[in-house]
């Protein structure tokens, strides 16, 4: 089939408009306050003042490490817990299997905003407020992931499992030596998908973390944007710094992410 140059051009122009806010963010991050106030289109020189301000004055690095730590550990936990729970739902036939399945399914109907207050109090009683684990442990509970992986397990042909069973393998062995390698695409998809979701979460860290040093990147950056400290150049530089790792991550794991979205989406 022949490709159309005209269509390409239309899409390209639309795309340029679409990503303009990001380009403007990058350009503005090099401007001085005066250049922003006087509406200069381009900065007069490549000024890294805003960037050095960020690294010197604020806890951006700390927030970045917090976000990385929380997202990585939570994702790790999600994968383990999900794999374990999805296996009986997808593969094992036993009394109560259906019940557990519907119980999990019911979980996706609970919006977190509706339980944010009792959950906050629970974390307080557990002494988890302002702690990494106060974010990490709740993040690990995600019924949606389990349904996705269980569905994937269900689709794996029986031959693989039977061969192992004849050799006398245990359920645990089958799960980690047979099922997990076969389900790698699904697991990769949910881990990337979870990671991005946790990295970007705003409401929950806003509530749980009271100490500025414990903020995640999104909550920390929001303080730059407070109405009494309008330093747009610095804010934009902060945005650029915060977008870079996500951009790299996105470039590497794009396919998994898309799969996670569509699989999750189509199954939802």
């Amino acid at each position: 089939m022949k490709k159309s140059k005209l269509l390409t051009l239309i899409v390209f122009i639309f795309l340029l408009i679409y990503i303009f806010p990001l380009l403007w963010m990058i350009i503005s991050s090099f401007k001085t306050s005066l250049e922003i106030l006087t509406q200069k289109l381009l900065p007069s020189k490549l000024d890294f003042e805003n960037y050095s301000y960020i690294f010197k004055q604020s806890g951006v690095l700390r927030w970045f490490l917090n976000s990385s730590f929380i997202s990585l550990i939570s994702t790790f936990g999600v994968v383990i817990i999900t794999t374990l729970a999805a296996y009986p739902l997808g593969r094992l036939k036993f009394r109560g299997n259906k019940f557990l399945f519907y119980l999990t399914l019911a979980g996706i109907m609970i919006p977190l905003q509706a339980i944010m207050i009792p959950r906050y109090l629970l974390l307080r009683d557990l002494g988890l407020l302002n702690k990494y684990w106060g974010l990490i442990i709740p993040y690990m509970v995600n019924p949606m992931n389990i349904l996705i992986v269980a569905q994937f397990f269900k689709g794996i042909p029986n031959e693989f499992e039977e061969a192992a069973r004849i050799d006398g393998a245990s359920d645990l062995y089958i799960l980690f030596r047979v099922m997990v390698p076969l389900a790698r695409p699904a697991l990769a998809a949910i881990s990337v998908f979870s990671f991005v979701g946790i990295w970007n979460d705003f409401l929950w860290p806003l509530i749980v973390m009271t100490d500025q040093k414990m903020y995640t990147l999104p909550v920390g950056l929001a303080t730059f944007y407070g109405s009494y400290t309008m330093k747009y150049g610095v804010t934009m530089a902060g945005n650029v710094i915060a977008s870079l790792p996500i951009f790299i991550f996105f470039m590497i794991f794009q396919e998994q992410l898309i799969k996670g979205l569509t699989v999750g989406g189509l199954k939802e």
Partner: protein, 410 residues
């Protein structure tokens, strides 16, 4: 990943051991200052830390907008800071909740006597002192000399002529609009408009904040009049609806002649290098006003209650708080007015520029002190926005305000 975790654990342990084994008492201190104010507070904390080796203050500057949510959440979680800034207007809520430590035993008598008595009363509840007042920061009126001169408000000596009453102020704005096409006034859309200016006008029109039984109270008729007073500036194009930094920018760039803002803006104007064109005066009252008032809150220092209180930390925090009050002439560089008599009369304070132009505001300053204030405050902001944006009428706004006040204080 595992490696990273252990590295982190190691770092934490090291940090902990430093805290445990080194000599000075470490206290955490939460503030909500940024910009010029933040800068001055940073310097003061540094200076204190360098001046002695018994106490080490770790300041944490939080975002203004999130400050109280965070502070209260930390108190609830049982890990509040050892010392925190709190506005006088917020104090009743926190004292009533039992989250603030009474300071009678930690405040030296000399300091008790040095404080202006009205400010010490404002932080005393049932005979207990709950805070070290640090300053008072009233609303003031800034003006751009160039615009005033262009509009002809200048005497034979080249000095600008300033309005003496609020009526005069209004007519100045009108003439400025006619003669120069610039705005007479600029004011930000949030607290500046709905809380600070509104309360100032309300009281100068004779409105009271307490009924005969001492409960918080808003007079509906005067509230409506206050909304009308503000609305006419917008209706006649003498001002425009803008946010905080725009309001400030309009004054500095000469697009507006007057600007209402707190005294702290002086530090910001100084930072911008704009102070030579800008003057400051107390907010004018009406010719009919008997006792002129102006909105003015105070920063105070409180020691939050924690499940486990360490006597040495309390003492260390009190030591620093006292030091800060005694050095508040430095803090006054941010524009704030000192509340300790010795500082107010000190040469260090008196030689600061412009202060004599608005020092009278300190005596007129008031701020509502009522339980549930944050909710009334939110309503004030919104209703005033609604009125000037034409979304509601002064009459309806006054009614809604009174309803909210009744709900909150019931």
């Amino acid at each position: 990943m595992k490696k990273f975790f252990w590295v982190l654990v190691l770092c934490m342990t090291m940090l902990l051991s430093v805290v445990v084994f080194s000599k000075p008492v470490e206290i955490s201190f939460w503030t909500l200052f940024s910009g010029g104010e933040g800068h001055i507070m940073n310097n003061l904390v540094d200076e204190f830390n360098k001046s002695q080796d018994q106490v080490r203050v770790n300041q944490q500057a939080l975002d203004w907008g999130q400050y109280y949510s965070k502070l209260l959440a930390a108190m609830l979680a049982g890990n509040p800071p050892d010392l925190a800034i709190m506005h006088k207007s917020s104090l009743p809520d926190y004292v009533q909740r039992g989250t603030v430590l009474p300071l009678n035993n930690y405040m030296p008598n000399a300091l008790k006597q040095d404080y202006l008595q009205n400010i010490l009363q404002a932080v005393t509840f049932n005979g207990q002192i709950y805070a070290f007042p640090l300053d008072t920061h009233p609303l003031v009126l800034y003006y751009n000399k160039n615009v005033l001169k262009k509009a002809g408000f200048v005497d034979s000596k080249g000095q600008v002529i300033l309005p003496k009453t609020f009526e005069e102020f209004y007519s100045f704005c009108k003439q400025i609009k006619q003669k120069t096409g610039k705005y007479g006034l600029s004011i930000e859309d949030l607290n500046g408009l709905g809380e600070r200016l509104w309360l100032t006008i309300y009281r100068n029109l004779g409105g009271v904040l307490e009924d005969s039984k001492g409960n918080f109270y808003i007079d509906k008729a005067i509230a409506e009049k206050t909304y009308n007073e503000i609305l006419k500036f917008y209706k006649e194009g003498l001002t425009t609806y803008v946010n905080y930094d725009t309001a400030r920018a309009l004054l500095v760039s000469g697009e507006a002649a007057f600007n209402f803002d707190g005294v702290w803006a002086i530090a910001a104007f100084e930072d911008m290098g704009a102070l030579q064109d800008i003057g400051v005066m107390p907010v004018p009252a009406y010719s009919s006003t008997k006792v002129p008032y102006v909105w003015g809150d105070s920063h105070t220092l409180i020691i939050p209650k924690a499940p486990k209180m360490d006597e040495t930390k309390i003492k260390a925090a009190a030591t620093f708080a006292q030091w800060l009050v005694n050095h508040s002439y430095d803090w006054a560089k941010a524009g704030h007015l000192p509340v300790a008599k010795s500082v107010g009369q000190s040469t260090e304070f008196l030689k600061l520029s412009l202060r004599k132009d608005f020092i009278v505001s300190a005596e007129r300053a008031f701020v509502p002190q009522v339980k549930g204030w944050s909710q009334i405050q939110q309503k004030l902001l919104e209703l005033c926005q609604g009125v000037v944006l034409g979304k509601t009428t002064p009459q309806k706004a006054a009614e809604e305000l009174v309803t909210t006040v009744n709900q909150v204080t019931k």
